[in-house]
Amino acid sequence: MSEHNLNFMPTEGFRARAKDVVENPFLRQSFRGAMDFLITKRAAQFPSPEELETLRTLGEQIRQYNLGKLPALLLQLEKNLIRNGIQVHWAETPDEANAIILGICKAHSAKLMVKGKSMVSEEIELNHACEAAGIDAMESDMGEYIVQLAGEKPSHIIMPAIHKTKEEIARLFNEKVPGVDYTDNVDELIQIGRRVLREKFLVADIGLSGVNMAVAETGTLCLVENEGNGRLSTTAPPVHIAITGIEKVVEKLAHVPPLLSLLTRSATGQNISTYFNMISGPRQPGEKDGPTEVHLVLLDNGRTQAYADEQLRKTLQCIRCGACMNHCPVYTRIGGHAYGTTYPGPIGKIISPHLLGLEATANMASASSMCGACGEVCPVKIPIPELLMRLREESYSAPHANPAMRGQGAGYSRLITSVWRGWAAVYRSPALYGVVTWLGSRFGRLMPSRQGAWTSVRVPLRPAPKRLRDMLKERG
């Protein structure tokens, strides 16, 4: 495991972190309200269930089509990016990605980097790497800026500061931004952020951004955003570095509109985002603005592992809209930080094991009631519950040769496995089932009144004095 990933030990302490949140009525209410708001906004964008279904099927088909020819598309993308004057870099690990980015910074003696919102930069912990190299990396998305000021990580992939109230942000600005008095007027807070950030765009050496879709046939990087900070980050500084996971490539320009429409409607309930940037090269001779250098860093970080397995590959269909977390009853109860991973919520549970290995995420998939809300809203129809079951199996099965995943068997327990074997021995045998359940019905009253986790908020489970089969016999 790379040094940068050492911060991610989600399995450790997950239950304790979750408990802290569920026992905090204020946070519970605040998450519930925020998620309800997003759920309502999305629902308003999809008034027709038939249209939604058609669009989701189209989204799924486009993503599966492109993943089906991913290696060829990546080469085509590289070729066309280079033709357009964009420099392409391949990174297998977060460390490699950071080294590439820091190398570019060093070549330009960069001191200040402004960042548009990028979850992949969070994934590689770029801000830490920059700090260690003496480069000031400044977040310019309002949510990310707030989270950075607070010394935290994003708690949601679309709304990084969704866990914060305006009063908390007001106190934070008052403490951390020089010369700012306390105000919890949201418009004023936004203006304060803008004022600080505007100055930075003008003097930054490097602009960093993510990528929502990379179009192979044209060599174009697409960037979806609402604040204009993405456009400024990618145009004002002399050097633009974009970073993305290798799965974000689509073959055709025609694939962009349906995915874009699904993305903004599912994510924030917007018809279209305020800004949509299509970047197809650095400043050309005779042009008056734009960066003189554009780089793209393509990151693997476990994605090829998911790619190699037909079922797990569906994980890579994700367009990072966050609808699965907004609709998840678990995310709604515990918020994003409890997960301890860059990507929280249902998508986090299925992608993180590939990024971090099952050793660090062995029990993450257990944090789901399998209610299916995530799969129901996913705009590209990722069968998240099915993948969660697969990850449970990969984690809990005994370690074996040629596993599909790094860390397979990390959650293996001889005891738990024997319990399930014993269970199967009883339930596959009508005779044994008959004896065991008969005993249960006769002596059910003797069941302990404390039944572990079950009785923490419920009365003990006791079998009825007569089974249905006994009642049917008596009835004749």
Partner: protein
Amino acid sequence: MSEQAKTSRRPADIYFFATCVVDQFFPGAGLDAITLLEREGIRVHFPEEQTCCGQPAYTSGFPDEARKVATLQLTLFPNDWPVVVPSGSCAGMMKHHYPTLFANDPARKAQAEALSVRIYEFTDFLVNVLGWQPEDRGGDCTVVLHTSCAARREMDVHLTGRKLLGGLNKVKVAQQDHESECCGFGGTFSLKQPEISGAMVEDKLKSLKATGAERVVSADCGCLMNILGHAAWKDKQEGRKTPSPPGEHIASFLLRRTSK
């Protein structure tokens, strides 16, 4: 569908797959469902060897163990009769997951697929196969319906329970907030993540109680075990002697409301 088409599909015989939860914990619900079906003139067959659909192991990441248990159930329904299951969750397992579970075993996969088309969730069977119109014989009453996630999202039968209750003249069906949200049971989830599961069932009970309904009904005993188990725990904590609210399987409620 015309009335005639409905009656022509009306089977003389059906199998009843009770589920292990009903057999052991809610036998009255099973008996009421069978009684109601028999009252409609249907011969109900209860294969004695039935145990469990295998879902607990399947969703917990132990498909081999689930397969062993599912293999037994595959053999229990030899005649071409509908198999009625008083649970959306277990019906979903048998209808939608058995074919996947046996994907690498051609003979059993064929059996699973043949069984799949005959699986009906109880309320779906009443509404869409029998075209059953309940005649309300009870007094004024307000109930709130909880629909399981599997009934809603796997079986797509979330409207049938509501339709049945809507057919009862003197029954008002209350609308809870966050109706489509999970109650937090999730089988082993409730044991592995008790804090989150506990928070979910706490919120679910609050929503149900906030409607002021006298009674909770559901077509899934797994959810009832969780919701009513929490309600009874709360009653005990707060010193109530009567269940607040009481709850039961929709079969029991329907049978009582329509009995002379």
